[in-house]
Amino acid sequence: MAVGVRHFVKLKLRITANGLRGQTWRVALFVLGAVLAAGAAVGGYALFSLPGLLGEQRAAEVALPLAGGLIVLGWLFLPLVFFGVDESLDPARFALLPLPRRTLIRGLFVASLAGVPAVATFAGTLGMVDSAARLGGPLAALAQFVGVVTGLLLCAAISRSLTSAFATALRSRRARDLATVLLACVAALLGPLQLAALAGAENADWAGIARVADVIAWTPFGAPYSLGPDVAAGRLWAVPVKVVLILATIGLLLWWWSRTLERAMLGAVGRSGPRERAASARRPVAQLVPAWLPRTRFGALTAREMRYWWRETRRRASLITFSVVGVFLPVFIGVSSGSAGAPTGMLIFVGALAAVSLANQFGFEGSAYAANVVAGVPGRLELTSRVAGFSVYVVPALLVISVVVGLAVGRPESIPALFGVLAAAYGVGLALALPVSIRMAYALPDTANPFALSSGGGMAKGLLTFAALFGAALLTVPVQLVAFLAHDVWLWAGLPLGVLYGGGALLLGLRLAGPMLDRRMPELLATVTARQ
């Protein structure tokens, strides 16, 4: 019997179900995620069927491609920043099976659609079919349905191929720095686009936005979602052209994916070659612990954390992603919102986002944590050193962010205060992330893709991230209030107050989480050890 697509789908569903078996909080998270996704789908459906209900042909022509483009962008960036990709079907596991590459790619691709996000996206965008039907009758509805289906395929293809390519780039040593630059460039390219769009939205009128939408409707991002309005407007000729465009894009993406996959599959067997380093004449302790750290337990733990944030692909990926998001996001918001002043809310988000990288810190190293358990490292020391090791990278990044943002909004005098806000958010975020990292740790799959999560893990990661961000936003309300109300005072008081606030929160968090870790070390080790 030939291996078909349905075998992959069945395997994926079976793995998802097995992953949930006997893990109560995972089931709870899965259900919560599914409920949220269902809510988003219903909301999306209502929103997208609105132009049809109102009978606004032009509104549909503008809104559908724009919204569709955002959805595709979301599929591209959300996995990188928040959710990771569900790689419960690890491509490397198929390396030894006698499967033609076409079968494998098709199977993995369709299986990647058998998940909550894909179903929710599909259900939500069906609202567009509703709109198209009301505006242009059955033919428009049919065209829009084709658009919605191909759009979903496009979303999945884009997210799969990009994370896979990025993962491959990160893995090979030579391309490592290249990947950093590449990602920065992608983000930088998005910048002007977004600025243009936002500037258009602010300055120009409705016609300006409409023009942008008309352009987007002819890019692969918006094309799938503009088929219905095209038919309704009588531009039947546009439909086949756009369908060809979309299919060609999907085909190209899948081809690219299959190329990187093949490399990943080979890599899983052969690895990227041993990393030979120049022989060092320094003494063993000096090789591990930099001169400015004490040669103690704390020094050793911190030094190891620092090495790990750079040498381990998963951690490096999250570090790089954070740096890029952290620099560009506040700048865009700051510049595009014009003279409204420093983007405090966005800085809170960025500071907390940095801390959230530690929300599954024990999951990164998995069973290797056994060494610390056997050595009986006290919980407080363990957590302090982890925060210190991570902060070696993050605090300079936060400094750079505050300088860049200060200059970008044209208020260099506010730089210290901006850093104060970042520090407060980072400290509060850490205080929240530390207990979370102990109580809600989860094992990461042992694959080559740093963005890979086992089934259900994506839901956990995304929800925990959002919960921590929300919590940090809530707990920094005092800082935000002071910054907003006492603006002149904040300019000089922001730095000390923010640092004190963040530092105080961090100390509290450590005090709370340290004993928690002392009590739960073996349990934590068991949860982060990947099940065979």
Binding site: A278, V285, A300, L301, A303, A368, A371, A375, A526
Partner: protein, 258 residues
């Protein structure tokens, strides 16, 4: 052979009392009692899935037992973990090492983690890298080591702080004969110097050659224990093992297509 005959020494190096561990519905370890005399070379035998790793993990404080006690050199590992853990060295199963460090860095890490003086760590780490033929100036990450090298660096990490008890999970698994001979030699010297070694294995030849005491574990319970001579009697250890475990020794007509 110098087999210590005192089976009931006042303070055994490792004492397990009624250890029980249940995973979901499966009873992995069903009440293990075990005394490892100080100064012995102790082999814990058992087929795959017998509960060896689970038992040893509970003994060294890596896995919380559902019931029972584990005492290491007189200290209860769950009541007084700091005192118990400070006196032992552990080689955990699989690749449980911080493998994104180089071998030298990993040794320095373990040394400082054990609260050792940096100078002593430097000296011992360099010596261990040299004796274990890992290359004193080797800057390869442990993740890129071969399986045998990983075992050796794991063993070095366990021995660095000169503990009085070594608990090793499958130290000879996936190790080539040359490395195995080296590890055997080091462990024998360690025991001759007064240390105690507990290790799990299912390689009978190694166990017969090294151990003064053995215990056979199957389906989560100790089936047989004693000095090597007591357990083995007149037969080979392998015969005893297969008989105790109750394995299938010959296939009939099933695999005719092979």
């Amino acid at each position: 052979m110098t087999v210590p005959q005192q089976r009931s020494s006042p303070d055994p190096a490792l004492a397990l009392r009624g250890l029980v561990k249940r995973f979901d519905t499966k009873l992995a370890v069903a009440g293990v009692d075990l005394d490892v005399p100080a100064g012995s070379f102790f082999g814990l035998l058992g087929p795959n899935g017998a509960g060896k790793t689970t038992t040893l993990s509970m003994a060294v404080g890596l896995l919380r037992p559902d019931a029972g006690q584990a005492r290491l050199l007189g200290h209860d590992v769950w009541a007084d973990p700091a005192a118990a853990k400070a006196r032992i060295g552990v080689l955990p199963d699989g690749a449980r090492l911080f493998d994104r460090l180089t071998g030298t860095e990993l040794l320095a890490y373990h040394g400082l983690l054990r609260g050792m003086d940096a100078g002593v760590v430097d000296q011992r780490a360099a010596e261990l890298m040299d004796v274990l033929a890992l290359g004193a100036d080797n800057r390869t990450l442990v993740v890129d080591y071969s399986a045998g090298m990983k075992k050796k660096i794991g063993l070095a990490c366990a021995m660095l702080h000169a503990p009085r008890l070594l608990v090793l999970d499958e130290p000879f698994e996936a190790v080539d004969p040359v490395s195995a001979a080296l590890i055997r030699d080091i462990l024998q010297r360690y025991v001759a110097g007064g240390g105690t070694v507990v290790f799990s294995s299912h390689v009978m030849a190694v166990v017969e050659r090294l151990c003064s005491h053995v215990a056979i574990l199957a389906d989560g319970t100790i089936r047989l224990r004693g000095t090597l001579a007591e357990v083995r009697g007149e037969r080979s250890l392998e015969d005893v093992f297969v008989e105790v475990v109750g394995g299938r020794t010959a296939t009939g007509s099933e695999l005719a297509w092979l």
